[in-house]
């Protein structure tokens, strides 16, 4: 890995230049598809872009300097972490991005929820605090199966390098582990059956209740990048091989990401929001059991 490759991974692909339009397209198609599934026409695909521009052009509310700085710090931190996580994704066969391992990638993916929790508490709004509380609970909850599934894949592959994990995990570990990871995606993206932390109307807007204009635009940006990074992560560890050519790798990665968006939207439009207690039960009964099966399979496969 050389510095030129690292900068290209951060800024071009799969970094900012790819992730920003792709994320806007993902969020736009999610809204469009959800509307179509509900029998509505729905907003155009460019809707998230217009929202972003409009929010960025709103006048800021008067705040004290410290308050303003601390509220801007959290979304900027999550945007930075997401760009870093994107650069670490093992999209290509020859691993020309950063030589980071699973630990770093997962750590970076965990920063946006933590920032959201802190921002909710920093907003000093009662709705923000309840939202932050729920976000913290549901995030810890879904990290049990998420990490267990990743540990199972890492044990089975005998490596913490993301590329090795993607290529070397045997199928009896890969299938349950990927199902567990997939079932954690709607929780991490705060999509419908698990839209508990940002419950619209119920909690006003959850942790982001007090963010306006540019702050909200920064949060939207972080959320858009989170979509690309999380779905990209699930896709890269799911595909057991790469076709070889750079263009084919990119096309496979982008196409598989969009397929996951369609699946997530279908799941989100078919379900209603759960309570925290019901979500806990569902995650323990489905995701954690799948992750446990994956762990057992990994330990058995390693014993041979």
């Amino acid at each position: 890995m050389n510095p030129a490759h690292a900068i290209a991974a951060l800024l071009v692909f799969p970094g900012l230049l790819y992730a920003l339009p792709m994320g806007l397209l993902m969020v736009g198609s999610e809204r469009k598809l959800r509307a179509r599934f509900q029998g509505r026409i729905g907003p155009p695909l460019t809707q998230p872009f217009y929202d972003l521009v409009k929010l960025a052009a709103k006048w800021p509310l008067p705040r004290t300097r410290g308050e303003r700085d601390i509220m801007a710090l959290f979304p900027l931190l999550s945007i930075g972490a997401m760009i870093g996580a994107l650069a670490l994704l093992p999209v290509f066969h020859d691993n020309s991005g950063f030589a980071g391992d699973l630990m770093l990638l997962v750590g970076l993916l965990e920063i946006p929820p933590i920032c959201l929790v802190l921002a909710g508490y920093a907003s000093r709004s009662i709705y923000g605090e309840i939202g932050a509380n729920r976000e913290a609970a549901i995030d810890i909850l879904c990290n049990v199966p998420f990490f267990a599934a990743l540990v199972a894949m890492a044990v089975a592959a005998g490596s913490l390098q993301t590329t090795n994990i993607a290529f070397a995990t045997p199928w009896q570990v890969r299938v349950p582990a990927l199902l567990a990871v997939l079932s954690c995606l709607p929780v991490k993206l705060r999509l419908n059956p698990f839209s508990i932390a940002n419950a619209e109307q119920e909690l006003l807007a959850g942790p982001l209740t007090e963010s306006e204009g540019r702050l909200l635009a920064l949060w939207e940006l972080a959320h858009v990048l989170e979509w690309v990074a999380l779905i990209g992560f699930a896709v890269t560890i799911a595909i057991p091989g790469r076709p070889g050519g750079r263009m084919l790798d990119v096309l496979l990665f982008a196409g598989a990401s969009l397929v996951v968006v369609v699946l997530l939207t279908l799941f989100a439009s078919g379900t209603a929001r759960l309570k925290l207690r019901q979500a806990t039960r569902l995650l323990w009964r489905c995701s954690t059991v799948l992750a446990a099966i994956a762990l057992a399979a990994a330990l058995l496969a390693r014993g041979n």
Partner: protein, 156 residues
């Protein structure tokens, strides 16, 4: 006619295609509220114009008020109005915020709305039909984007 730059036109276009609403019930009988919410259903589907009902006034561009302003809701109304970031537009839904309707002259009423906050668009009716509400919101969006209004409402 002044020639505006690319970013100015981009922002104008974005404001035209993305309007977040915040709905405030200032003592309404729920008639107007039901008609407003029905605009989001598949039959009328205002989301195709980028209109979204937001839960937090901090996110909103358009402040939608229904109901005659009762004494209990006047102070919250002013508070919430001041929480909307600029540029913002106020839409009064129904006869109540415009005139006080059947409650006109009651000692419990602080309205009409334009005695308390500046109102940009009135949508008359008791309750107004969803198409009338959508027309009012569309006029509000035009005003947000800095366009002048056509028709008898004229040059708002």
């Amino acid at each position: 006619m002044k020639e505006y730059g690319f970013f100015y036109r981009l922002v104008e276009r974005a404001r035209e295609h993305s309007a977040f609403l915040f709905h405030f019930n200032a003592g309404a009988c729920n008639g107007c509220d039901i008609e407003l919410v029905s605009c989001l259903t598949p039959r009328y589907d205002v989301e195709q114009y980028g209109i979204r009902l937001e839960a937090s006034p901090r996110h909103a561009d358009i402040f939608v008020v229904s109901g005659p302003i009762t004494r209990a809701t006047r102070r919250p109304l002013e508070l919430v109005y001041n929480q909307l970031p600029d540029p913002k537009v106020v839409v009064a839904i129904g006869n109540c915020p415009a005139t006080g309707n059947v409650f006109c002259g009651s000692p419990m009423i602080e309205g009409p709305l334009d005695h308390i906050i500046p109102v940009d668009i009135y949508v008359p009716g008791c309750p107004p039909r969803p198409f009338a509400i959508i027309e009012g919101i569309a006029a509000a969006i035009h005003k947000l984007a800095g366009r002048t209004l056509a028709g008898p409402g004229g040059n708002a």
